[in-house]
Symmetry: C2
Subunit: 387 residues, 2 copies
Amino acid sequence: MADIRIGIIGIGNMGSSHAKHLNEGVVPGAKLVAVCDVRDERLTWATENLGKKVRTYENTEAFYAAAAELDAVIIATPHYDHPPLAIEGFGHNLHVLTEKPAGVYTRQVREMNEVAAKSDKTFCIMYNQRTDGTHQKVKELVESGELGEIKRTNWIITSWYRSQSYYDSGGWRATWAGEGGGVLLNQCPHNLDLWQWMCGLPKRVRAFCSFGKYHDIEVEDDVTAYVEYENGATGLFITSTGEAPGTNRLEITGDRGKLVMEGGNLTFHRTRVGEREFNRTHTGGFGGPEVWKCDIRAGRSGGAHVGIMKNWISAIQNGTKLLSPGEEGIRGLQLGNAMLLSAWTDDWVNIPVDEDLYYEKLQERIKNSTSKKKTAKGKTLDTKGSY
Amino acid sequence: MADIRIGIIGIGNMGSSHAKHLNEGVVPGAKLVAVCDVRDERLTWATENLGKKVRTYENTEAFYAAAAELDAVIIATPHYDHPPLAIEGFGHNLHVLTEKPAGVYTRQVREMNEVAAKSDKTFCIMYNQRTDGTHQKVKELVESGELGEIKRTNWIITSWYRSQSYYDSGGWRATWAGEGGGVLLNQCPHNLDLWQWMCGLPKRVRAFCSFGKYHDIEVEDDVTAYVEYENGATGLFITSTGEAPGTNRLEITGDRGKLVMEGGNLTFHRTRVGEREFNRTHTGGFGGPEVWKCDIRAGRSGGAHVGIMKNWISAIQNGTKLLSPGEEGIRGLQLGNAMLLSAWTDDWVNIPVDEDLYYEKLQERIKNSTSKKKTAKGKTLDTKGSY
């Protein structure tokens, strides 16, 4: 089977990392043949580091004009450009792997998903944390029913500390026009994706966000979100870039006990009988079900970014199942958009989010931005420092 | 100095425990001389277990009619009766120690506090968890400034599991008329008190309560409350009687790091420099302040219920400082009332709570109660199984 010929748009931090991996041959069946970046210095880097066989393009027009020589594209640009560049890729009959997040607002991502659905191409999103063995084990324990029906989820994910110098490192950073949000759009997409991947999407959200609370930025850097699921379970998602040291602790409570993921450890506090059954049958007044503390050993990690690329190439070549289908990228974004919209409107927000209302409210913020940072219009592919 | 002559109203679980302790002489300077209960079997118990020197009264009228032979009263009745019985105690020139909570709604507790303030008597509330060495250490680390300015508080206190048989054990339990609330009024008063004692009262609350979610009861058994403090810090309080096993984990984040109290352990993740200073001065983009994980050894526990009684007697006899002044009982109740009112109105609630609105909303619930449990009007002192 012929190697899949890959082009990468955006060779900043993530794009250049993917380029190097592909060039080193760690993804069987894949061959890097082209890269695209609007910054001269990144193209110089490409020429010096990727070899002469990898063609370089200084804009996406030129890149896609040569799409006939590609089978697939990896998009590693700033967030706003993921959907339009993915749509263009499908238009050129290419398989697409996009960096996270899927986009900035759900309307553009829905449009991308519709184009993807009509194509026969393989669409993947770089939710590399889905390859993590512990994350997979949590999902498996929930889905297999071991934990019983979920009652409550609680993720304190405040370990995204950033100092002002981080935000000052790129003019597009932490602006409504440049990134379309703060911690929810830049640092947390993995967590929002994992949360819905493990526990499903809630039906409504009531969130409290602070904007520029700990930094001289206009977007959110502190979030507390309360959610309610269809079955009546509740959930919390707490994040911040202003706490040091932060916490990364996920607790999921179900009828059969409690899962706690923290510090790389996974503990299942398992009840010997279901709580609902105990509640019905116990006659002793005080007291609860017997609980066993079980240390759960998770499987090995599935290779992070390289793992996602391998999985994508295998799906293209062999039709195997995608671990992180591109169409699912909209789910975590629903959560992030709902949290911001709830804070902006000081009200409940149902999921799916009203995509037109969200777009309108976002445009207001772009229009009224007082950020001193100006996003240069011509620098749409500036991925410097993206994480 | 003459012993303080004490009478106890209500000798159910807690009252009988206090009576036994006093009778055993573990509280220096205090002498149990009278008990009061509306239940014959409790008075029989008193006669058989407390000796003939302890007088028994079958109602509060008779008890208070003999108040001249008392110096102080301990009130261990159901919640609603704490304020009126305390007010009556002050009227008879008695020192007062009331069980928690201070009352059911803030209006009655404010009235009690006003009467207490006008008296020259020593007013104390049984917030015995304030005697705990770990709780005191948390408060001390916050107040001394070691933790720096607080950014976020987060208490997951779901370790209050109760089965249906618990609720069925008393007709007054978990009814609006009998207890005036559920987990916030019965199980959590200690936690609500400690939370405000350590971290102060927030300025407003947005809470989400479920009523009879896990049990056949009409009051709340599941609560998630988000709060905002005057300095901009945020907080969460999560409780439930429907999760097994529950969690008791308090995390307080400040400028100098993070305190975590869980499983009897107290850990201070201390930053070497304050986060705000690091934020201003760091130039490296990524990265955060150096953090030291410090295991904090707390002082010895101060004796729980007996400790509070000793502290109260010492304050009466020697004018020493009260650890748990009765007037402070209203503070935790502000939190509990605010949480319920926020859930009932699906809106923000400022602290202090609008006491008339709260009273009105509570009366609506009592009036519209469909609970099959009927609280016998004459059994106002039924403390059976109180905790």
